[in-house]
Structures are given as C-alpha cells and as structure tokens.
C-alpha cells in the first residue's frame, strides 16, 4: 500500500530528525583556557577575558544590609564596590582607596587620607563623607557591628580625610576596614533606607569591577572591569551563573563550561583530574563548623534553656565521626572554639579534648531532669554534605534520648529564620572570620553577628574579648581566651565541631581570581598594580 510506504517513510524521517537534533546537541570539546589566563599565569602577566564562576545562589541583592539568598551576594557585592581596605588573595587587609594612614601615639586616633582623583564608575567623585555614611549604615545594622564596636566615631575632615576615634586600641582595625559592610557608595544616594533600596538596584562602583548585568530573578550576574578604578584588573568580564545542584556544578566544571566552582561534592576529590587543566583542592577555611542554640525569647524548646542540657549536647556528639563520615576526613575535629588553621591562638577548651563522653552527658541530662529525653528541631542549610551531618547528629543525640527532627532548608529560608522569625531551636552552621579574634567577636561580642542571631552575649565573656582585642602581647591574649572559652563551654550555646573547609575547583592559577581562602564572604581579582603590601 502506498500509504504504508509513506508511513514507513515518515517513521524513518522522524527517527532521523531526532537523531539529527541530538547530533546538533553534541557538545564540542571542553573550552580550552586561553593562553594568557590559565594554570601557569601570574598576576603580573595574566589577561583574562571572561571568567565564569558557578555559584550556589542567585545574586539577588547588592546591599549588605539586605541579604537575600546567600554568600554569593556578599562576594559579588565586595568586588563591585569601593573599599577603604581590601582583602588580598591571602586574606590580608591591604590599603585600597586609602593612600596613607597615620595613627596617634595612644593608638586611639587614626587619620586616613584617600587617594586623589577617585571616581565612581559613573564619574561621581569619591569623597570621605561616603565612608562616614557607610559606617553609620553598618553600625546600626545587625551584621557584625561588633567588629566596629571599638570605634567611637568617624568624621570626614575634608573631602579626602577621615579621622577615626577609637574607644580602646584595636590591632584588628584594618580587618574591620576591609569588611564588605564598609563598602563606599555615594553618600547622598544611600543615606536613607528608602533611597538605598532604590540605589542598590543599580549601584555604581569604586572597586575593580562594576555591575554589568544584574537581574535579581535570573541566573546570570555579570561584572565588567571598572575603567575608573585606580588599578587595572586582570579580568575583563566576570560571569556568575547559578547552579544550585552540586553535581551539576561538578559536571559543568568537568566539561569546561565554567572556570571556578565552590562547594563541590565529596566525590570530586576522587576523580583523576588532568593537572594541566584543572586545579581541585580541599581548602581549609578560617572558620569553625558549629551548632548554635537559640537563646532568644521566642525559642520554644524549654529544655534547651538549661545549660546542663546544652553541655550534654556538646559532650554527646562524635566529632571525629562527623568529620570522618560526612566530610571524608578532609578536616579534623575541634577541641576548642576557634578554627584550627594557621592559628597561633588555637587552644583546646572542651572536656577530654572534645572526645565523646556519653556517660557524663547522661548525668547532666538526669540532673537537668530530662532523663527521658525530649524532642528537638534541628535546622540545617541544604549545602553539600550538611544533610549527612544532620543524620549523624540525630543518631548521636538519640543515644541520650533526644528525638531530633531534621529541618532541611535553602540558605534563603535559614536567613529568614535567623533574621526575621527567630523561633528556631538549634541549627548546624559555621562561623568564619579573617582572624581568630574577629571570629570570637562574632560569637561573644555584645554586638557580634552570631550573638545577635542567638540573642545572647555573656557580659564577662564580652569583656574578656574586648580586652584581648586591644592587647598586643600574645601571652596575655591567650590567657584571656582560655578564660573566655571556659565560659563558652559552661554556656555551650555554641558547640564547636570542626574546622571548615570546602572543595574548590579552578582552571587558573591561585591568587588570580577567587574568594580569598580565609573567609569566603569576599572575592578577589588581581590587579596591576597590585594592592600595596605595606
């Protein structure tokens, strides 16, 4: 039958068409890194056209006071805004827009002179008052205002001079200056929250890059080199694409579609990488994985208000097991609060150095009157490997009778829990900072970031920390910290587990384009000339 033949022809055409479109779909070989921007380049000779960073979160806000979806926003905010001081690739705070600085004999007055002729990306001149406005915004926010608690006031003496007055000496002052919360923006456009909301939809930049494409609902963020910056970045265009799924990120990196990835799955370290094209490393962060417990009035779980219960929680977790099973032994368990990486102030403050002690835990639970245990809700951000940790914690705590419900949520919802709802019970998270004192500041300073989130700060601990932050003698600092960490364990509203790390992948050499390794909230792009090293 003629029609039958036609049908058969149709069928074969159909299969051919399907095959053809799959042929069209076949990818070509992995995008080759360019000659001047690869694993062998150096900051002095690298020229990168486009660099693609695969991130976990969409960039939905460029205002540090109003974060939406996660730390990728912090990183992008940092690279497209002006900074007085800026973190270099090693995480050291270097002068950026500040030309010179002098400090008074009593270390309480610091005078900064900005570089001359500074302009934002739209040509507006950068004036010292912009820093004052930024400082005001920061000190009234909930975010790490503890870092600048020692600042009494700051005044713009003229358009290029800033005078900071401190309440007590502050050796970590430059680290505070380099924080992303002190980004410079035209003062008259952000001095009220309403104006700021409008401004941050399309901010201008005094930093190495400026915003090119910013769509809060889309998956792409682009930042281009800022021609008005005082140095020339080695990068022309930074593209940030959102890939929330860890496997998709890994696969995208593997086949060359992206140049840099963060938070790769554990399996990445077992893949045989071509070392001439890819650089994959488990990098330790200057941060601690920890378990905060909400001490605020809206926290509904009565058992958690008893510090004996909290201590029992701390004594009954298998830190070594968690770091081994959930993190593949890529980092070790902690015996104290601080991060254990390049940290001369690290000390052990946990009983038995953090090894699990179920019998002591049970004794404490009985003393507190919870020999039958209780129910608890553990909030966990759904990052790579963190849900596995939650399962191990649940098993650990079931041994002292606690029934844990795991509440896995995206970063944006966890942010809601911490900033708005405030009725979370207990959480798994981390605390990163540029220096050990700043990390402790987040936890124990009166205006510390995490102290604010949990709604509690021990006054004596805060005092010890404040003193230590003004000292210069390491022995004295250590003495204070020993006392502080003892108080920390007695209260146990922050339970340390291990030093943070994550697995990153890149196809260019280190120190060119990356988040600085200690602390992942910033981003770094090498420039020529580089940030001054004095």
């Amino acid at each position: 039958m003629k029609r039958n033949k036609v049908i058969r022809l149709l069928a074969s055409v159909a299969t051919l068409a399907l095959a053809a479109s799959t042929m069209v779909g076949v990818t070509t070989a992995a995008a080759a890194a360019s000659k001047t921007c690869n694993l062998k380049s150096r900051p002095t000779n690298a020229i990168c056209d486009t660099f693609i960073y695969a991130s976990l979160h969409r960039v939905q806000s460029l205002d540090k006071k109003a974060p939406v979806s996660g730390y990728t926003e912090s990183q992008m905010t940092y690279i497209v805004q002006g900074q007085l001081y800026r973190f270099d690739a090693d995480g050291q705070a270097r002068r950026d827009l500040v030309e010179s600085e002098s400090i008074s004999a009593d270390s309480l007055t610091i005078t900064q002179t900005l570089k001359s002729g500074l302009k934002y990306s739209d040509g507006t001149p950068v004036v010292a008052n912009d820093a004052v406005v930024s400082y005001d915004r920061w000190s009234t926010s909930k975010f790490s205002a503890g870092y600048i608690a020692k600042v009494d006031k700051v005044v713009a003496k003229d358009s290029r001079t800033l005078v900071w007055t401190l309440k007590s000496p502050y050796p970590d002052f430059h680290f505070a200056m380099a924080q992303e919360f002190l980004g410079l923006h035209p003062g008259n456009r952000v001095d009220t929250e309403a104006k700021a909301k409008e401004y941050f939809k399309a901010p201008v930049s005094a930093g190495p890059l400026m915003v090119k494409t910013f769509n809060p609902t889309g998956d792409l963020f682009e930042a281009a080199a800022n021609p008005n910056y005082w140095a020339k970045p080695i990068l022309k265009l930074l593209k940030v694409v959102t890939i929330p799924d860890a496997n998709a990120r890994l696969a995208a990196f593997q086949n060359g579609s992206v140049d840099f990835v963060y938070e790769l799955p554990l399996t990445s370290k077992d893949i045989k990488w071509d070392k001439t094209k890819f650089r994959v490393a488990a990098a330790l962060d200057s941060g601690t994985f920890m378990i905060p417990i909400n001490m605020g009035p809206l926290q509904p779980n009565k058992a958690l208000r008893d510090n004996r219960v909290r201590k029992a929680l701390s004594l009954s977790i298998d830190r070594a097991g968690i770091m081994r099973n959930a993190f593949g032994g890529l980092s070790k368990a902690n015996c104290g609060m601080q991060y254990n990486y390049n940290n001369p102030l690290y000390l052990c403050s946990l009983p038995k150095n953090g090894v699990r002690d179920i019998s002591s835990a049970r004794k404490l639970m009985n003393q507190a009157g919870y020999s039958d245990g209780f129910k608890m809700k553990l909030a966990v951000p759904n990052r790579v490997l963190w849900s596995e940790v939650a399962v191990i914690l649940k098993e650990n705590w079931s041994r002292i009778g606690i029934d844990v419900t795991i509440d896995l949520q995206p970063d944006a919802t966890i942010g809601q829990y911490l900033n708005v709802q405030r009725n979370w019970e207990i959480m798994w998270f981390g605390n990163n900072a540029a220096t050990p004192l700043l990390q402790l500041n987040n936890w124990f300073a009166t205006a510390g970031l995490w102290a604010g989130f949990v709604g509690y700060s021990d006054p004596e601990g805060a005092k010890l920390l404040d003193e230590a932050s003004s000292m210069t003698n390491r022995g004295q600092i250590r003495d204070n910290l020993v006392k502080l960490e003892k108080i920390a364990f007695e209260s146990s509203h922050f339970i340390p587990v291990g030093t943070r790390f994550n697995i990153i992948g890149s196809n260019i050499a280190a120190n060119l384009i990356q988040p600085p390794i200690p602390g992942q909230l910033e981003f770094f792009v090498a420039t020529n000339p580089a940030l001054p090293r004095d």
């Binding site: 055409v13 399907l18 990818t27 579609s257 605020g296 809206l298 809601q416 405030r422």
Partner: protein, 324 residues
Amino acid sequence: MLNRKGFVNIIKSEFLSRVLGRLIRSIAVAFWVMVIAFTLMRLAPGDPALARLGPGAEPEAIELLQKQLRLDVNPLQQFWGYFVELLQGSLGDSLQTSTPVLSLIGQTLPVTIYLILLSTFFALLLSIPIGTAIAWSGRSPLVYGFRTITAMLLAIPNFFLALVGMLFFSVKHNWAPVFGYNTSFPENLRYLWLPVLVNTIIMTSVISRVVFSSIVETKREEFVETGIIRGVGKSRFFWFYILKPSLAPTVVLLSYMMGTMLGATVILETIFSLPGIGRELVTAVLVRDYPVVQGIVLVFGAITVFLSFMGDLVAYYLDRRVKI
C-alpha cells in the same frame, strides 16, 4: 432535499454553536481555575503572613505583608482585589525580589513551552506511525510486545530515566551539557536534547497506545466496511476513513497530556538546571514566595484550559466532517 450549499450551511452553524458552547464552558472552568489559585493560599491553617515571617517579626512587618497579600480584608474583597489586579494584567510582585511575577513568568515560561513543544512534535512523529502500523497489521505477538513494552516504559519514573540518561550522556561521555541555557535557536537545542529525549520516550509510549486502540476501534466501524465495499481509493481511504477519525481521541489526549507534561517537566528542569517555569515554582515554594507560587499555578491552569479547549475544537473538526 439537501443541496450541497445547504448541507455546508448546516455544518457551519452546528460547528459554530458547538464552539460557542465549548467556549462558554471553558470560560467557566477558567473562572474556577482563578478561584482555586486564589484559594490555595488560604486553605492552609493559620495566617500565611505569620507563617512566612514567624512570631519574631515586628508587628509592622507582619501587617505590611498581610496588606501586600491582601489578608487584611474579608475574603470577598480579597478576591475582588485579586480579580481587578488580574484584569489590569498584574499578578503581584515577588516577595523575595519585588519584581513583578508576570515578568518572571515571561522569562521562564518560553523555555518550558519550547521543551514541551519539541517533545510533543517528536512524540507525534514517532507514535502515529508506530501505533498505526501495529494496529493495522494486527499480528498478535507484535501487539502483545508493543503493549508490554509501552506499559513498562510508562511505569519508569521520568526523573529516574533522566538521571540514568544524565549519568551516561553527560558525565561518562560529555555529549550533553549539564546546566545552563542559551535562548537563541539553534544553540538551545544543545541544552534541550536530553530532557526532550526523556519526555519524548514517555509521551510516545502514551500516545502510540491511544493511536493504536483508536485505530483498532475505527477499523471496526461500519463506514470503514462501506468504504472498502465501495472501493474508495487507497490513500483517500486511509486518511478519511481511518486516520482522521482515530486522531480525534489522540488530539484530546494530547491536550490533556501536554498539561500533565507541564507538571512532569518540573522535575526534569530541576535535574537539568533549565531556567524554566517549573524550576521557578520549586524555588518559590522552598522560600515561600506566595505571589509567585499563586501566579505560576494560575498560569498552569489557564494553559491547560486553553489547551483542552483547542484540543476539543481540533477533535471536532477531525471527527465531524467525514464526507459520505
């Protein structure tokens, strides 16, 4: 006596009246779709604004959100406000980013639609010949094998099929990119071919079965026998007597299927990181962005109603104008 002109006139008016009837029914359904999309948020126990912000939020923030979600007035006024806003072409603003929901949908819907259209195209191209050939031949081992295989293919969850496909094509062999999307044609084929393949396999299984069974039924009809007796030309016979009437149920099913596909595509978009409306819905649900969820649900419902209306029209056209 019915002359040719009169005959055509009758058909035309009947067609029109049917269309009108269907249209009215569809509008009624669309109205209920709107009501349901509106009601969803209020079905759950408790106050949505409170659920989103939690008891720790400042009362002003809760009040503001309630006003934004129109929860501060009585339900009838709420619906009226919602309806008016809809007529003005607005679906509200996202709670996360304050951008209009409509623009969000405008950005992401085309991707999903494109994916579904491609899958449907290929599925039709494959199932009509396959279903027809097997139904026409009637050989029972062939039929048995066909029905068993399609039954099995239908039972495999689409996300599992997609994962296996991804493991093979993207990870082991790098024939398909793992993420991303390029809106220009034909580059986007590169990102779409694997999800389209998965969808096509599933859709073909369903559609070919329907084609098969409806051709089997049509074969038995009286007018077919009449056609054979009268010696109608082979190709004309095939089209008018067999294929066209059988396609009617296929088309009805197709419009229903495309609606279901919209749902199944949600999972595929998540696996392949495609920036479509399904993935947008999941993201909005995870962060409780109610206006976005409500808007997307409304769009889905409206599309399905539209599709079924069109499907009915096409089916009517296919099955009513058999020339005697």
